[in-house]
Amino acid sequence: MPSVKIVRKSTWTDMTPFVDVAFLILSFFIMATKFKPPQPVDITTPTSVSSSKLKEQDAVLVELDKTGRVFFTVNTLKGGDNETKASVIRGVNQVRNLGLTDKEINAYVRNTTVGVPFSKLKSFLNLPDAERVKAFEGIPVTDSANNELTTWIASAVMAFQGKKLNFMIKGDNNAKFPAFKGIIEALRKNDQFKYQLITDPEGVPVGTDLYKRIQEGKNENES
């Protein structure tokens, strides 16, 4: 009886298609990726049905984290319009008599995210960028008599005179309402009534009035 001969097959597999696919996916991700901008703190935004896209240029970004700390950032056109940023800090310097030096003003222009009360702003601006995050304790907003964000916004409005300035509010899901109210109060005191709240997209529930309007093609919230 002849013994069964086992044919030994090579286990070598052709990896080339595999590599092709891998690099195809890789190139897709490289193209489609926009890097997350460095964030002072982690903020999880709520969702909304709104479909208007975010405009990040010429904007003031007010962030609110889950413990109620408030941060203030000035975004100018890409490439950086340093003069506008500098006039924001100069305005604040003048109003609050902080006595900031040119070096400190330059330090602000380099990274405009601020999250400290005015009393600590001077020492905050002398910190290297990496250590600023640790020093964040939030701009005081909940005390209506001393809402420091009002000064920041007033200064930004002055600096952006003649340009359209967008106000963006980015809040964390778990932030409490009084801090949000403090931000709105600060804006309202400066006669600013239109804000953009940054949210994550969400689908429109079927059968609601908005859903019907979108079906009929007359939703003015788009743009």
């Binding site: 030994r8 090579s10 286990t11 070598w12 597999t13 990896m15 080339t16 595999f18 590599v19 891998a22 690099f23 996916i25 890789l26 991700f29 490289i30 489609a32 990726t33 926009k34 997350k36 935004t45 709520p46 909304s48 049905v49 709104s50 479909s51 208007s52 896209k53 975010l54 405009k55 609110l64 963006m168 509010i169 809040g171 964390d172 899901n173 778990n174 932030a175 409490k176 309402f177 949000f180 109210k181 804006l187 309202r188 006669d191 009534f193 239109k194 804000y195 953009q196 709240l197 940054i198 949210t199 997209p201 429109v204 529930p205 609601t208 009035d209 908005l210 859903y211 309007r213 919230n221």
Partner: protein, 204 residues
């Protein structure tokens, strides 16, 4: 590496003395390249922000000092929604009764139905007046567009409501196409009712 040497036909002898020309294999081991490729893919997936965030527009009213500049609201067309802790929602129609009997507690899932019902009710009871023509003209002659003009939702989050709750409620306004709504402070009386209800229902 990607293949295992099974020792198949490697020892193919041509005979003694015949010098074998050393043939170099053209096969390249792709494994490290695949490793690297997937490593990069993983990196890009983790750092990617795929969906760009959207923005929701919010317009707040100006502080009116003069009482005659204040907007008047029809009692029959007003819905007041209060937000408390633990994602709880409370509401009442019109004015709150002194004994608080029309103060109802609900949640985010059911509040939509309440808003829709109230809106439908207001639209049913619509009383035509001169202001309607203006609204028609603005909406391209849509005669239904004026029916809900009296409907006002007043949103009052208390100090324990979260930012998410407030945004969800504003979003609810967009979803139900409520044209007039206001975000204002809760009154101490209403807050007391909310607190009492929270205690009774043991809301954490």
């Amino acid at each position: 590496m990607a293949d295992i040497d099974v020792g198949g036909d490697s020892g193919h002898k041509k005979g003694p003395g015949v010098k074998k020309a050393k043939k170099l294999s053209t096969r390249v081991d792709m494994t490290p390249m695949v490793d690297l490729g997937f490593l990069l893919i993983t990196f890009f997936i983790f750092t990617a922000t795929m969906s760009t965030p959207n923005t929701m527009r919010l317009t707040m009213p100006k502080d009116e000092k003069d009482p005659k500049d204040l907007t008047e609201v029809k009692e029959s067309a007003a819905l007041t929604i209060m937000l408390g802790k633990g994602n709880q929602v409370y509401y009442y129609m019109g004015q709150i009764k002194p004994d608080g009997s029309n103060f109802t507690s609900t949640n985010f899932k059911d509040i939509r139905k309440v808003i829709q019902d109230k809106k439908a009710e207001v639209m049913r009871n619509h009383y035509h007046d001169a202001g309607c023509e203006k609204i028609w003209a603005k909406n391209g002659g849509d005669q239904n567009s004026c029916k809900d003009k009296d409907f006002v939702v007043i949103i009052k989050p208390n100090e324990e409501a979260t930012y998410k709750n407030s945004i969800d409620m504003l979003d609810e306004m967009a979803i139900n196409y409520v044209q007039r709504f206001a975000l204002i402070d809760i009154t101490p009386d209403e807050n007391m009712l909310v607190k009492a209800t929270e205690q009774r229902n043991n809301v954490q």
